[in-house]
């Protein structure tokens, strides 16, 4: 039976869609456009919606603001500190969990727990763990002879502290995605490799890594996007401030500060669009590079497979 489109059906569909569409248009679609417009308003009364002047001054002002560059730099350090380490660790755990072991479900649950908890609440817990005098971490480091580190008050250590917290918090999500990817790999590949006498490491490098490249691409894009948007952790770890001498001020903290503390809506909107653009471009680059790699492994596989 072929269902044809009619205007009557369209009207009926609109009735079903109305509640969801109304909310999404008002709170998602409209703000995406409006935010872009606000980023060009230089003098603007948001309550009466009267715009006195427009221009690119907001963008000029953030690019001439050393604080914005600092926040970009800090965000870049954070992303580079979190994403590669988190991917390597979670891949390692996922591969180990994928072996024939007992308590696999229980272990997966344990690794996933931090992910479902409130960021601000666990950050408060970590603030206590990072305590320079009585914190758990310094007590543990003291056991191996490392003198206490001022994690949250030394500008050199604030970012490493933030990175440790973020890796711990996000690991479980990546593990679950990697596990799903691992379970999709045909076990015949491993069987064949074992018959050919490949070592576990060779099997990992020549089967697991290439077969998992799609999953790795997905995980790295999601991890990168989330890392670029870091905010709650900072707010809670440093009790509302962006770390000692702004050493943990990231772009979203900058946006929050301009918007909510200083009421500079135009500048905050401009900064949020710059952030979006950066994330968008980096995602495209990752997709392109990742896509090429996948293409190459596929053709290699075809070439070797065709020879036999």
């Amino acid at each position: 039976m072929i269902e044809r489109r009619t205007w009557k059906k369209t009207l009926r569909a609109l009735l079903y869609l109305a509640p969801a569409l109304a909310l999404i248009i008002v709170f998602d679609v409209y703000p995406i456009i409006k935010s872009f417009l606000i980023s060009f308003y230089t003098r603007y009364n948001y309550f009466t919606d009267v715009v006195y002047a427009r221009g690119i001054d907001n963008y000029l002002s953030i690019f001439n603001d050393p604080e914005f560059w600092l926040s970009l730099r800090n965000t870049a350090i954070f992303v580079l500190g979190v994403v590669p380490a988190s991917i390597c660790l979670s891949l390692a755990v996922a591969v180990l969990l994928n072996q024939k072991i007992r308590f696999r479900g229980l272990l997966r649950t344990i690794y996933f727990i931090p992910f479902v908890t409130s960021v601000v609440a666990v950050s408060v817990v970590w603030r206590w763990i990072f305590h320079s005098q009585y914190g758990l971490l310094n007590a543990a480091l003291g056991l191996v002879g490392i003198s206490s580190i001022h994690w949250l008050t030394d500008p050199n250590w604030a970012m490493p502290a933030l990175i440790i917290l973020a890796i711990w918090k996000g690991l479980g999500y990546n593990i679950v995605i990697f596990l799903a990817g691992l379970q999709n790999i045909d076990s015949n590949y491993y069987r064949a490799a074992r018959i050919d006498g490949a070592s576990p490491w060779q099997r990992f490098i020549h089967i697991t890594v290439p077969m998992l490249s799609g999953t790795t691409l997905f995980v790295s894009i999601i991890a990168m996007i989330n890392a670029f948007k870091v905010f709650d952790e900072i707010y809670a770890l440093f009790n509302g401030y962006p770390g000692p001498v702004n050493s943990a001020e990231t772009v979203v903290y900058y946006i929050y500060n301009k918007f909510y503390v200083q009421n500079q809506y135009g500048i905050a909107s401009a900064a949020s669009y710059v952030l979006f653009l950066i994330i968008f471009v980096l995602t495209l680059i990752q997709l392109k590079v990742g896509g090429q790699k996948k293409e190459r492994t596929r053709s290699k596989k075809l070439a070797t497979g065709g020879g036999r």
């Binding site: 039976m1 269902e3 489109r5 205007w7 569909a13 079903y16 869609l17 509640p19 969801a20 569409l21 909310l23 008002v26 709170f27 998602d28 679609v29 409209y30 703000p31 995406i32 606000i38 309550f47 755990v93 180990l96 072996q99 072991i101 649950t109 344990i110 690794y111 727990i113 479902v116 908890t117 409130s118 601000v120 609440a121 408060v124 817990v125 970590w126 206590w128 009585y134 758990l136 007590a139 690991l171 999500y173 679950v176 995605i177 989330n226 948007k229 905010f231 709650d232 707010y235 809670a236 009790n239 946006i255 809506y265 905050a268 909107s269 949020s272 669009y273 979006f276 994330i279 968008f280």
Partner: protein, 274 residues
């Protein structure tokens, strides 16, 4: 054979060590929350509080209006979840069962909005809420979250997997479309709906930046915002601070452990929003 046993032991060792590292912060949190003040700041750290100070919980409960924060969090999570379920069921029905003009275009635009980071929406949404007079009201905390593109996407996929023959059979029996949706499709889709509800509850409960910005008064705070307010007041009283953190964290851990099947399934399909 002996080498195999050895490497298996090594795998267990690594995995269990990692698992302990994941859980340790929570154990430490609960342990600290049950300590008398003189046992909090000690070297070496005390793991088992003695005596166990259950009264810390009562004390924190009375120092700040946590009862109110808790009510707000539960109320907001429940209301926004009901809203999401309702709008999602209706929208997913239209996208999966009705062939209408512009369906694919509208659906693509919706998927496109998922790519935009939430920070961009913050300022215009704040202005909208000010104009509606919703700032510092429950409407601001719930209504904007009552529709979710991700949820619509998830349920649409599920609805598409229901055989069409079922709908023809129901129509033969004189069942209207609306009745068919609520009496047949919704009950069949229970697993997907539970996943959607759970992700919404967790997202709502843990949400921080949004409730921080759209509420001003103490009586409108949710648990995470209340925790941060308490943290600037309680300052260095870490046992009380850990009580507050436990109250925010533990409900979600329990919920996750009971219903993890649905959560992991939903998360595997796509990321948690926000």
């Amino acid at each position: 054979m002996r080498r195999g046993a050895f490497s298996k032991g090594f795998i267990y060792l690594l995995l269990i060590a990692g698992g302990i590292l994941m859980l340790l912060p929570f154990v430490w949190m609960i342990s600290t929350s049950l300590k008398a003040p003189n046992q909090v700041m000690t070297l070496p750290p005390i793991w088992l509080p003695h005596p166990i100070e259950w009264s810390n919980y009562l004390h924190a409960w009375h120092t700040a209006p946590f009862a109110r924060y808790l009510f707000n969090s539960i109320f907001v999570a429940a209301l926004s979840t009901l809203g999401v379920l309702l709008t999602t069921i209706l929208a997913a029905y239209a996208f999966s069962q009705i062939n209408f003009y512009g369906r694919d275009v509208v659906f693509s635009i919706l998927l496109g909005t998922m790519m935009v980071p939430g920070e961009i929406l913050l300022i215009p949404n704040f202005v909208t809420l000010v104009k509606l007079g919703w700032i510092d009201h429950y409407e601001a905390l719930t209504v904007p979250w009552m529709a979710s593109v991700f949820a619509i996407f998830l349920l649409r996929q599920f609805f598409l997997s229901i055989p069409k023959e079922l709908s023809y059979a129901a129509k033969m029996d004189g069942c209207s479309d609306f009745k068919y949706l609520w009496l047949i499709m919704v009950p069949i889709s229970k697993p997907a709906l539970i996943t959607i509800a759970l992700l919404q509850v967790i997202g709502s409960w843990n949400s921080f930046l949004w409730p921080l910005i759209v509420t001003n008064s103490m009586t409108m705070r949710t648990m995470p915002v209340g925790l941060m307010a308490f943290s600037s007041e309680a300052g260095t009283e870490y046992n009380l601070l850990m009580v507050a953190a436990t109250m925010v964290i533990l409900p979600m851990i329990i919920l996750f452990i009971i219903l993890q099947k649905y959560i992991i399934e939903g998360v595997t399909r796509a990321g948690i929003k926000g």
